[in-house]
């Protein structure tokens, strides 16, 4: 970000420091691999027990997994298409909506971590 002033991660809360791992180079890829392996194991798990779905196609191995993957992709592509159609600038309905307004600051307690 623009304000790259020196930051001391040691001041973060304990849990926050631990979570910093996810932003280390390579970590996201590791997570994806772990997820992929878990998914494969789950898919294989379908062969180890007797499925009893209400519909016959539920018994196809990894049916839910495949359905989930496709459904999610459909959502994303559908949403992209939808955005193409209905996206409008933030102040489209102004001034009758809150979207283009600042939240009134007196209601908030905007305290930054360093101030504390």
């Amino acid at each position: 970000m623009a304000n790259k002033k020196k930051e001391n991660p040691e001041s973060f809360p304990w849990l926050g420091r631990k979570l910093l791992w996810v932003d280390k180079p390579g970590s996201p890829l590791k997570l994806v691999w772990i997820l992929a392996i878990v998914c494969i194991l789950l898919g294989l798990a379908d062969f180890t027990y007797n499925k009893y779905g209400h519909f016959s196609f539920e018994n196809v191995p990894a049916f839910y997994g495949i359905f989930g993957f496709i459904a999610f992709s459909c959502v994303i592509f559908g949403a992209k298409a939808l955005r193409f159609l209905i996206k409008r600038p933030e102040n489209f309905y102004s001034p009758n909506v809150v979207d283009a307004e600042e939240y009134p600051p007196e209601e908030l307690e905007k305290v930054s971590h360093d101030d504390a």
Partner: protein
């Protein structure tokens, strides 16, 4: 009026609201807002099934308190939601918000226990009027206009309900709030009124419009009551109405797409709320014992995890001043507890095993499958994957992870953490030990959510979807978060109709002024003739009404004589 034989739980809130005004501002008030729901819940818990508090009013009998298992479970979760919401709002010093929250919760609880339609109507309007103050309390111009739109629609729902009630009373002579069958105009009107409050497709815009406009704490309160009251009303009035199955199914699917591209996270949650309501509506539509249990339990769990999500986004808004995904990111560093609570909420709404959504949503899904609604079932499973996309991933990921926005807000204040922690605990508790929740459901149904195929199937669905997310994210296909709004069907009444109306009114104005000019000249001439003897005319504006009035008298007398003599 006779003494109530059972103190209505709703009155606890109303008395409490008055007490609140008398209490000194500060912690005493905040504490009072917590005690009131506890008292109400304890009264409610000890009520035996039956009908109490019959009040004679203008020749009709109102039944203020009708206790059965369906109303009790909704009453309890409303008390719980009021407690958690008020805990989250401990810091609020705004009397209007505190009173409005109490009156709103009280009205919702009153409506749930209403034994007759008139009482239901009164509380129905009560929720509308009390809740709008949670939006206006933001005190900006946008919030004012949004609140007005919200109020008009909510009151409109009440007026339609009243019309339906009146017609029904004429048809059947009964005001009891019991199961109805669609068919007559009366029942359709009541159905429509419920549908507006339940945010049926195309009647849904008020929800996405107003919830993001309320205050930080107001949205948490708002999310709990109005729509779930409507679900209760449907479950009470129209169980087993097949139309509801299809309405509910559409409701689960279409908000998914809108939520995905919405930038304001509170509006994302509003779309997601709409989608979750769909599951409940499907449950009502199927109308079997199992599916109605599913509706009740899902409403129970949903209120909790939805409140939790609104709380976590609210805490972020409270600390950073924005709830827009495009402005946020990387907040886990300094708000780790909020992050964890948000993840719990996300896991619950996505129905991960061991979280509350899993043990409640599966009741509805299984009921759909058991009754062989294949297409509806597909839509619901599709929507389940869709829920993951916006509530399960988008909310926590773009707020607390993703690219670093550079914002380093302080962790949420203690009372907010407490509220979120308690809610998160309940979400997990229900997920791990569903039996206590099952035991208070309206019907005794044996159900075991944790079967191997069920758990594996659900995990497959969710994790493969997650994998798809990773894939799309890394390939850059996933839509980025940008500052923009998206049109919804409310564009019709916010842009299209106003533009038509203004065009029409310009035309009418032109015709009218021409016409008026013509007639004014005629009338003026007439008056000048009639009043020549009255000496110098003053300003014509002053003579005009007198003269035209005389004309009117003549017209009216003529008309009356005509009617009399014909």
């Amino acid at each position: 009026m006779m003494m109530p034989d059972q103190f209505p739980p709703a009155f606890v809130f109303f008395v409490g609201a008055i007490a609140l005004l008398l209490a000194p501002q500060g912690h005493a008030r905040s504490a009072l807002t917590l005690i009131i729901p506890i008292i109400a819940a304890s009264i409610l818990w000890n009520m035996e099934p039956g009908i109490y508090d019959r009040v004679e009013f203008l020749g009709i009998t109102l039944e203020l308190t009708r206790v059965d298992k369906l109303s009790t479970v909704f009453g309890l979760i409303f008390c719980l939601a009021a407690f958690l919401g008020n805990l989250f709002a401990w810091h609020v010093k705004d009397t209007i918000q505190q009173v409005a929250a109490l009156l709103y919760a009280g009205s919702a609880i009153g409506a749930v226990f209403a034994g007759d339609l008139v009482t239901l109507f009164i509380y129905w309007e009560g929720t509308a009027i009390a809740s709008v103050f949670l939006i206006w309390a933001r005190r900006t111009e946008g919030a004012y206009h949004t609140g007005l739109r919200y109020l008009i629609i909510q009151i409109g729902s009440g007026v339609i309900l009243l019309a339906g009630i009146v017609l029904l009373y004429r048809e059947t002579g009964s005001l009891a709030f019991e199961k109805m069958t669609l068919g007559t105009l009366a029942t359709w009107l009541i159905f429509l009124a419920f549908g507006i409050k339940c945010a049926f497709p195309l009647l849904h815009n008020w929800l996405q419009d107003s919830y993001p406009a309320a205050t930080v704490t107001g949205t948490v309160i708002l999310s709990a009551f109005t729509t779930k009251l409507a679900v209760y009303a449907l479950a009470r009035g129209f169980p087993g109405t097949e139309l509801l199955i299809y309405i509910g199914a559409v409701m689960t699917v279409f908000p998914v797409f809108f939520a995905e591209i919405e930038n304001d996270l509170r509006r994302v949650l509003a779309y997601s709320l709409n989608n979750q309501l769909g599951f409940m509506v499907v449950g009502v539509g199927i109308g079997t014992e199992m599916s109605l249990n599913g509706t009740a339990s899902h409403a129970f769990a949903h209120i909790l995890y939805k409140a939790l999500l609104f709380m976590s986004v609210g805490a972020v808004l409270f600390r950073t001043g924005t709830s827009k995904a495009s402005e946020l990111g990387g907040l886990y560093r300094t708000m780790p507890l909020t992050t964890v609570f948000c993840l719990v909420g996300a896991a619950s709404i996505s129905a991960f095993p061991l979280f509350s959504g899993f043990v409640t949503k599966s009741l509805v899904l299984d009921a759909t499958a058991e009754n062989h609604y294949l297409i509806v079932w597909f839509m619901l499973v599709f929507a389940s994957a869709g829920v993951l996309s916006h509530s399960g991933i988008k909310i926590p990921f773009f707020t607390f992870f993703a690219h670093d926005s550079g914002k380093r807000p302080k962790e949420a204040p203690t009372h907010m953490l407490l509220a979120m922690g308690a809610t998160a605990f309940l979400c997990i508790f229900i997920g791990v030990f569903p039996e206590p929740l099952y035991s208070i459901l309206p019907y005794d149904v044996e159900y075991h959510p944790y079967t191997t195929s069920h758990v594996v199937g659900q995990l497959q669905l969710l994790l493969f979807a997650l994998l798809a997310f990773c894939f799309l994210m890394r390939t850059g296909i996933h839509p980025p978060e940008i500052r923009a709004i998206n049109l919804d069907s409310d564009w019709i009444y916010r842009r299209l109709l106003p533009s038509w109306i203004s065009a029409i009114s310009v035309a009418i104005n032109a015709i009218w002024s021409k016409n008026l000019g013509f007639w004014t000249r005629k009338v003026d001439a007439l008056i000048v003739r009639l009043h020549k003897s009255h000496g110098p005319e003053g300003r014509i504006a002053q003579v005009w009404p007198t003269g035209s009035m005389v004309l009117w008298i003549a017209v009216l007398l003529g008309a009356t004589l005509l009617v009399n003599f014909v």
